[in-house]
């Protein structure tokens, strides 16, 4: 059984972004998803600092000092993209104008509660950024995260142990082992990596998992960086 790499997780999430969707990609793995949108689809990426139509990383030497993304990395604007001011960028987020918000997370509960803004490390000041705005506003909130923490403890929990970002918001979780839908009837596994079983997955997941009737293999194409 081979867990997905970060790139493969991003690839998987990207496959679910439909033609014409407006999407915000959170900092970290979600950002990588931009590269894996199928070539025949137009998906428009939103950046909280005021960009609608975020493009790829600029070629070396082509960086524009006035053009950065939410992660403060140099970026580009695609044809048709526009600039807006900050309050309008968050009106788009909070007002349900984005089709998908793809976020990183520390923990997700079986009710779809999301914890992704603080680990409560007393040595450092907390920072929330746009996490809470992104977690309430989009038409659909999806999470990308490793299935367990570094010690192998579950991150999909009955109740989040860390402070919440927002309650009951997550609809789909992409992990390095599975794709799981959060529904009013519980958590449904819709895809698992080759060699994974519901039993093994359940062992590293706190709340009860059910296998969707239509479940299938989670199998990125060989070309996606391993």
């Amino acid at each position: 059984m081979k867990p997905l790499t970060r790139e493969q997780m991003a690839w998987r999430a990207a496959q679910d972004l439909p033609e014409g969707a407006f999407v915000n990609l959170g900092i970290g793995i979600p950002t990588l998803a931009a590269s894996y949108v199928p070539a025949d689809r137009e998906v428009i990426f939103h950046s909280e600092n005021g960009i609608l139509g975020l493009g790829a990383k600029p070629e070396p030497g082509m960086e524009d000092e006035n053009l950065i993304d939410a992660g403060k990395n140099y970026t580009t604007l695609i044809t048709g993209g526009v600039f807006v001011h900050h309050a309008d960028a968050f009106l788009m987020i909070r007002g349900g104008h984005l089709d998908v918000s793809l976020l990183g997370a520390f923990e997700v509960s079986e009710a779809g509660d999301l914890a992704n803004w603080t680990t409560e490390d007393p040595a450092f000041p907390p920072g929330v950024g746009g996490a809470m705005d992104l977690a309430v506003g989009a038409k659909e909130i999806r999470v990308i995260m490793d299935h367990t923490d570094k010690k192998g403890n579950p991150r999909i929990l009955r109740h989040c142990s860390l402070p919440l970002t927002a309650a009951g918001c997550v609809k789909r979780i992409y992990t390095n082992l599975a794709v799981i839908d959060v529904t009013p009837h519980g958590l449904f596994v819709v895809e698992m990596v080759d060699g994974m079983t519901l039993e093994k997955l359940q062992a590293i997941t706190e709340p009860e998992l059910q296998l969707a009737n239509s479940w299938q293999a989670l199998a990125p194409p060989a070309a996606i960086a391993a």
Binding site: E19, G20, F22, E42, I44, H46, L52, G53, L77, T79, G80, G81, V82, F83, V84, F90, L91, M92, I93, R94, G95, G96, H97, L98, V136, G137
Partner: protein, 223 residues
């Protein structure tokens, strides 16, 4: 490939249901999507709630909908503008409900919905008849009225140029309610003078970004 352009005015207003709340942009006769309003008349939806600054002029566009008895309620700031006989007749016949809202409160309530907020306190109308029955609160020594978000099922908009994504620019004071109504409806439909190539609108000068627009129809240059 994203292409929000539809071929006909009928396509542009397809699917409007009876009872729908329709945001009608424009101020006086400027920036009004008259052709979309005529198309909505053809489409036939009834029992409409209209949100607009004024309440129709003559017997075309919004006034025609009023004259045809398609409108249940008008939310506006100033019905008495131009030849508003269509409104006046229905108002006197008591076949039409009027919700009179201060002009800035109309657009702010729509922006409130657009921004995903649950309502706001405004000093406008506090202590007046238009605040009757509304929740009030004193904030920093000043009386405020609680105003609720206002959303449309459909917005009928008029712009100058659009690209295939639906980015929009306007001409002069024809901008008026169009950008805020574009943000505040489930379905935003715009009649434009001209379609332009994606990328030909200045990214610094697009007024309504594509995310707020669903359907675009070309009606030809202004008369």
């Amino acid at each position: 490939m994203i292409d929000k352009q539809v071929k006909t005015l009928a396509d542009a207003v397809a699917g409007v249901k009876d009872g729908a709340t329709v945001l009608v942009a424009g101020f006086g006769a400027v920036g009004v999507a008259d052709d979309l309003l005529e198309a909505l008349h053809e489409q036939g939806a009834r029992d409409l709630v209209i949100v607009a600054n004024n309440a129709g002029n003559g017997d075309h566009g919004l006034a025609r909908l009023l004259n045809s008895g398609r409108v249940r309620k008008v939310i506006c700031s100033y019905p008495r503008s131009g030849d508003y006989s269509a409104f006046l007749n229905a108002y006197r016949a008591k076949t039409l409900e009027l919700e009179l809202v201060p002009q800035g409160t109309i657009s702010e309530r729509m922006r409130c919905h657009a921004a995903g907020l649950g309502g706001f306190f405004s000093p406008v109308s506090a202590g007046t008849k238009l605040a009757d029955g509304k929740e009030t609160r004193e904030i920093d020594g000043r009386l405020h009225v609680f105003e609720k978000p206002l959303k449309g099922d459909i917005a009928l908009l008029r712009a100058d140029k659009a690209d295939r994504w639906g980015n929009l620019t306007y001409i002069k004071s024809a901008r008026n309610f169009n950008p805020v109504m574009a943000m505040a409806a489930d379905l935003s439909v715009v009649q434009v003078n001209e379609m332009v190539e994606l990328g030909s609108l200045d990214p610094e000068a697009v007024v309504t970004p594509s995310i707020f627009v669903d359907r675009v129809v070309v009606v030809g240059a202004n008369p």
